[in-house]
């Protein structure tokens, strides 16, 4: 009965944010893009249990693919998104075929290696990517031919919000499907899943590929809205920050990805705006607080409180 309530509330908040912060739309759009990336990481790490610190590889590839597509082929935003998704998924598939054969630390190291390889390749292919100067000359057509990208970033916001909502809905369906449940099973115990006849390897490759596609979409959105792609989209910082946001919110829960990203980015933004010189302290304190006091992430905070309250009621009765 209440299953529609949470998504409705979140959407209402997104709408309210648009009205309440008309001057911060660019920032809100960045939050949405980051939510997409963290969602992709949630599918890969939170659900399928694939330990990765290299999600930026697919993010950056999506960004460069969409950027190059816009520069050389067409400025159609939706086509660009598809290209970004396809590029991200393709890289995830190819690298995943090798990566999913490894576990633990080896896997983490290899995911970092893939992102570093992409970074160096983009750095060397200066003629194509612009190298350290960044890929420029991205000019976007109006979304659906109707909504041109405007100065205040209104179109960018609604565009990114629509994409995020669609991806979220898709993931909500996916994670409730048999495939999604089998991923959870693999997360809990790969050996048991193998014993009941599930091909753990191929399921993980599939999850990694889908996650790669979503990260590609996030990168493509960033390229289209910033109109510039830099080597930083492959940076380790992006992979690491996405992981921190996911852990902050709570891995293995889709809303965890959303909450973690929003809280991290808002705290980051407010702290950096108020004290551009020492704001990193605040971020450090926040991460320490969550890791020590709410180890399952902020998404589990209301649950814990509700349980406590219900428990108290039962005790009284």
């Amino acid at each position: 009965m209440k299953s529609w309530l949470t998504p409705f509330l979140v959407l209402a908040l997104a709408g309210a944010a648009f009205l309440l912060f008309p001057y911060n739309l660019a920032f809100l759009t960045r939050i949405l893009i980051m939510i997409l990336l963290v969602l992709s990481l949630d599918l890969v790490l939170g659900f399928a249990g694939i330990a990765t610190l290299g999600q930026a590889a697919m993010y950056g590839t999506g960004a460069y693919a969409a950027g190059l597509f816009a520069v050389h082929a067409s400025g159609n935003p939706l086509a660009g998104l598809l290209v970004g998704a396809f590029a991200g998924a393709a890289l995830a598939l190819v690298s995943g075929l090798l990566l999913m054969r490894t576990r633990g630390l080896t896997l983490i190291m290899l995911t970092i290696a893939v992102a570093s390889l992409c970074l160096e390749a983009a750095n060397q292919l200066r003629g194509l990517t612009g190298g350290a100067d960044g890929l420029r000359g991205i000019r976007m057509q109006p979304v659906l031919g109707l909504f041109p990208f405007d100065f205040a970033g209104q179109t960018g916001y609604w565009y990114a919000l629509s994409v995020t909502v669609l991806v979220f809905a898709g993931l909500a369906v996916l994670t409730r499907s048999a495939f999604g449940l089998s991923l959870r099973g693999i997360h809990e115990s790969p050996a048991r899943m193998a014993a009941i006849g599930v091909s753990v390897y191929w399921r993980q490759v599939a999850a990694y590929t889908i996650g790669g596609g979503i990260a590609g979409i996030a990168g493509a959105l960033a390229a289209q809205i910033t109109q510039l792609v830099s080597l930083e989209s492959y940076s380790f910082t992006i992979s690491a920050e996405a992981l921190i946001m996911l852990i902050l919110g709570g891995a293995g829960r889709l809303y965890g990805a959303v909450i973690g990203t929003v809280i991290f980015m808002v705290v980051h933004h407010v702290a950096a705006a108020n004290d551009p010189f020492n704001w990193l302290f605040v971020i450090g304190a926040l991460v320490l607080f969550v890791v020590f006091l709410v180890p399952n992430g902020l998404v589990s905070l209301p649950l814990a409180v509700t349980r406590l309250w219900k428990g108290a009621r039962h005790a009284r009765a």
Binding site: P22, N24, F27, A132, D133, T226, Q227, V229, P276
Partner: protein, 388 residues
Amino acid sequence: MTRISCAAIAAALTALCGQMAGADTIKVGVIAPFSGPFATYGTQYRNAIEVYVAQHGNKAGEHEIEFVYKDSGGPNPDQVRSIAQELLIRDRVDYLAGFTFTPNALAVAPLIDQSETPTVIFNAATSSINKESKFFLRTSYTMWQVSEPLAQWAFDQGIKTVATTVSDYGPGIDAETAFRAAFEERGGKVVDAIRMPLSTTDFTPFLQRVRDEKPDAVFTFLPGGPPTFTYTKTYNENGLAQEGIRFLGTAETEEVNLQGLGEAAVGLTTAYHYSGAHDSETNRAFTAKLAEMFPGAVANWSSVGAYDGVDLIYHMVETSGSDGPAAIEAALGREWESPRGPLKLDPETRTVAQNVYIREVERDPASGQLVNREKGVIANVGDLGWTR
């Protein structure tokens, strides 16, 4: 929904405009790295800006000037673009300034074009940035501007063969390209072009290779800090100086890290547009005020880029207030005296034309400190990379 939000924005803007009209404060948004590994840039800019304000007051003509600082971290165009958008829409700044990295500057080009906001680049040194918007003005330098005069000077000194060793990243490759093109055009020969990985900690193999090739000089470009320490140390230890292979560089001996290089730095030759030891009234006033306000602070090229950038902004505000296109018009062709020497904002490239000095590191007998002593000057060099 859109209509309601437009109304809301309009109402908010009207309210803001009402506040603005009385005070007549012109805001300048400074986007620079204030945190992380590149925070030195931000500190240098901010110190220089505060020195300028202390010397000239916070009023330009009838307008009061206020600086709003925003942290960009490292190269991060996504973030810089959204910060710039916020500065323009919410804080309603009339001028933008800062920009250490090329992609960060490029990211704001479409914005400043639309909002007609004069944007003064304090550092980013890729020539082509200014082609992206006519509202970009640059008070730093470009890679070509210092590399080509160095090649010219070296050739005139009788240096005919050079090996280049650069760090393998954007600016390093730009420096290599610029030096090589300029040197070979004049008839010199680049015998070897070595690109060293950014993470190199031991330069011995590269410098040994250079030593074996016996060129007249070695040209180098390294990011500031530890790589420069190690490189110059290795250059001396491997006896390249004794072999008569001269060191040719640009920013390697910049003032903030110069004392750290120690005795190994003495005799290094560089071509650059600013030396902290530049002998002029303006420079002495600047460095003295800086030392007085921020004990321990040292002026280097990024300080002077910011100092001159603010000077240019004061000039634009005084003549044109918040009228962007008029301000650009007023800035183009302006000539003034900077701590680095005479400057002219070139109307075509919108980068300052300036003197490039050939310097040699010496120990100053009076202070006992290492200084970049100016030995020669190539006057009025424009942005030579513009037409390349």
